[in-house]
């Protein structure tokens, strides 16, 4: 079987990548500023809701119900979409999904397609596959455009260019669009508007992801901010939507939960500027050909694991990234996957499904187990428990190797606030993290760690309270 493109080919293991990222002060500064802003705003948006915990519980239960009845609900979705004039395709893996989409583009004789940001298509490496087949995919989401024009990798689920500050974005735009522009966000947004307008008005095929699909009505839901989504979902003749099989909700009513949970958790807004809902094809309004591609790509394997399957509840809000102390220091690209941060640490290795893959196997160690991710997760995924569970699987698969020792040591450092701070202040954290999977030096506190010692269960509370205090002062 072909390798799963959810991880980037040739990515180093997490400790090695993190070691390099930690030396990039600009990156750390950009990240601290951006995540600090969004953390405060998310807290305010959530504090406004008196029933937030009830919404989280309902979100968890609805998604668990989806996982329990996934076969029936998918068949129901297929029926409702088909009844409204859509065509449903099934793909076992990335390769199969990419081939389906490429064939659909070719059938429309399209050599260019517009795309609205989608994690599913990034996961399967669709753009590269289309390119190889002679079809150019144009990303229309501002952050995706920044990544694409900068020949870069995404580093965040919601804001793939979060590692770039305004002056870096200005430089990329000037170089690639051949324009003069200031570094004012409004001017940069205007530049993107002008650059893409013509594409929206003339391109005949669009590709999107989906935030939700409603099984009982066949409705597909996309949340966005800029209006590039509406452009793609409305103007072209043909729309191809690629969606993970777990993105379902059983009924229209269930959306009332997620339309409240998602915007506040992701962009810290009461509601995102635009949400589009469409059901198959509507004569006289929008694309007259609609294809829905359902992808497995490791999800059914994840479903088999009774502890790990809760990762499939994820609605990709990115709140767990924004609160994660490890993510804030290392950035998203260290995770070597389109899914970075805490969710990436549990989802990516499960989608890869091979604990002998050193890069994937290093991801469950990319955490301090502080628990902040669980606290903010709108669908209550117990990320720390899944991490611990997956670490046990890594050790079982590989035994104790230099890699696992290095990773466990890194995890041990990230785990306790005092060690972490001291290690970082001493500038030793980056040096400490293993190069080539080997520990080259063990300054304090790593020197106290030995390979025979099992990583002790930490008093998570101490880290959490420390983290809160320190976060407020930043």
């Amino acid at each position: 079987m072909a390798r799963n493109p959810v991880t980037w080919l040739g990515s180093p293991t997490f400790p090695k990548a993190a070691r390099e990222a930690l030396q990039d002060t600009q990156l750390r500064q950009n990240l601290r500023k951006a995540t600090g802003t969004i953390r405060g705003r998310r807290e305010a948006a959530v504090a406004e809701m008196t029933d937030w915990e009830m919404l989280r519980v309902a979100g968890e239960q609805i998604k668990d119900d989806v996982l329990a009845r996934l076969d029936t609900l998918l068949v129901q979705l297929e029926e409702t979409v088909t009844a409204r004039g859509g065509v449903v395709h099934w793909a076992r893996d990335a390769e199969e999904a990419n081939r389906i989409v490429l064939d659909l583009c070719r059938a429309e004789q399209a050599d260019e397609v517009v795309k609205v940001k989608s994690m599913a298509t990034a996961e399967i490496g669709l753009n590269e596959a289309l390119e190889a087949g002679g079809v150019r995919a144009i990303e229309t989401d501002l952050a995706e455009l920044i990544v694409q024009l900068g020949d870069d990798r995404p580093s965040h689920i919601l804001v793939p260019a979060i590692h770039r500050n305004r002056s870096e974005i200005r430089e990329i735009f000037q170089r690639r669009m051949g324009i003069e522009v200031s570094d004012e966000p409004a001017d940069l947004a205007e530049a993107a508007r002008v650059y893409l307008r013509e594409k929206f008005l003339t391109t005949k095929v669009a590709i999107s992801g989906a935030n939700f699909a409603v099984a009982d009505t066949g409705s597909i839901v996309v949340l966005e901010s800029e209006g590039n989504g509406r452009m793609c979902l409305t103007l072209p003749d043909t729309l191809i939507t690629v969606m993970g099989i777990e993105k379902l909700v059983p009924t229209w009513q269930d959306l009332e939960v997620f339309l409240q949970l998602l915007p506040r958790s992701s962009t810290a807004e009461r509601m995102n500027p635009y949400t589009s809902v469409w059901t198959g094809v509507t004569p006289g309004d929008g694309p007259q050909r609609f294809h829905l591609v359902l992808i497995d790509n490791g999800r059914t394997a994840t479903l088999m694991d009774s502890v790990g399957r809760q990762a499939l509840r994820c609605i990709r809000c990115s709140a767990c990234l924004n609160v994660c102390p490890v993510y804030e220091r290392t950035g998203g690209k260290s995770y070597g996957s389109v899914y970075p941060g805490p969710i990436g640490a549990i989802l990516t290795p499960q989608l890869v499904g091979d604990m002998h893959d050193p890069q994937a196997a290093s991801l469950p160690y990319a955490s301090s187990l502080c628990g902040a991710c669980f606290e903010v997760c709108p669908v209550r995924i117990d990320i720390p428990s899944v991490l611990t569970h997956l670490r046990a699987e890594v050790v079982e698969a590989k035994g104790r190797t230099p890699e696992s020792v290095a990773m466990a040591a890194a995890a041990w450092i990230f785990r306790e606030a005092s060690r972490y701070e001291k290690a970082q202040k001493a500038g030793s954290l980056a040096r400490f993290l293993a190069r080539d999977g080997k520990i080259t030096s063990l300054p304090w506190p790593g020197s106290r760690w030995t390979s025979s010692r099992d990583v002790p269960a930490p008093p998570a509370e101490s880290f959490r309270s420390w983290w809160r205090k320190n976060r407020c002062q930043e």
Binding site: D71, W90, Q253
Partner: protein, 194 residues
């Protein structure tokens, strides 16, 4: 059936996972809220949309005078006041792109989140009409304002093409700060009719 082998295999693998049934979903969250014109107006304004509370729509529409405005089918005849160049369907993408703005009603509004929902019905038109012009003026009747998201969803027909609009087009992609005005209408103006 397009690729029945893939379909069968995926469904079979799901069945093999034998995921236990989930407990009945507890909907203990709020079904409704305070609602009202004032809250809706305040929340729409929070997105930096322009809001007016009016009693006479034709009078308020004087602000459109001298402009070329798209008029979707089904707008009340008295809204089509003199002094405005009204653009009627059929309109090409280019014509929509060149218009100064669009005037619509809506299907439902949500006080709690300051959201307007269009469903392509009378006085709203197909989705491109409210997307390409750079300015959108939306008239919301008091009785169309639902208090909460759950209340609004109950009033909507899910199989119609729906667009939920909360403020003008915006992005948070540059240093995670909201900036208004990317691809959708850069100005959203709302007339609330009491």
């Amino acid at each position: 059936m397009i690729n029945s082998a893939a379909r069968e295999e995926i469904l079979q693998r799901i069945r093999n996972a034998k995921v236990p049934a989930a407990p009945q979903t507890v909907r203990g969250y709020n079904q409704t809220g305070p609602g009202g014109v004032e809250l809706f107006a305040e929340r729409v304004a929070d997105y930096r949309a322009i809001v007016h509370v009016v009693s006479d729509v034709p009078e308020a529409l004087a602000l459109l005078k001298g402009k070329r405005i798209v008029a979707p089918q089904g707008l009340p005849a008295e809204w089509l006041i003199d002094g405005v160049t009204w653009l009627h369907e059929p309109l090409t993408i280019g014509e929509l792109d060149q218009a100064d703005g669009v005037l619509t009603g809506c299907a439902v509004a949500i006080a709690d989140t300051g959201t307007i929902v269009l469903d392509g019905g009378e006085g709203q038109g197909r989705r491109a009409l409210t997307l390409l012009p750079d300015y959108h003026l939306c008239v919301v009747r008091q009785d169309q304002i639902a208090a909460s998201v759950p209340e609004a969803l109950r009033r909507l027909e899910p199989t119609r093409p729906l667009t939920f609009i909360s403020g003008p087009s915006a992005t948070s992609d540059i240093e995670l700060n909201r900036v208004e005005g990317v691809h959708g209408p850069r100005t959203l103006e709302v007339l609330i009719v009491t």
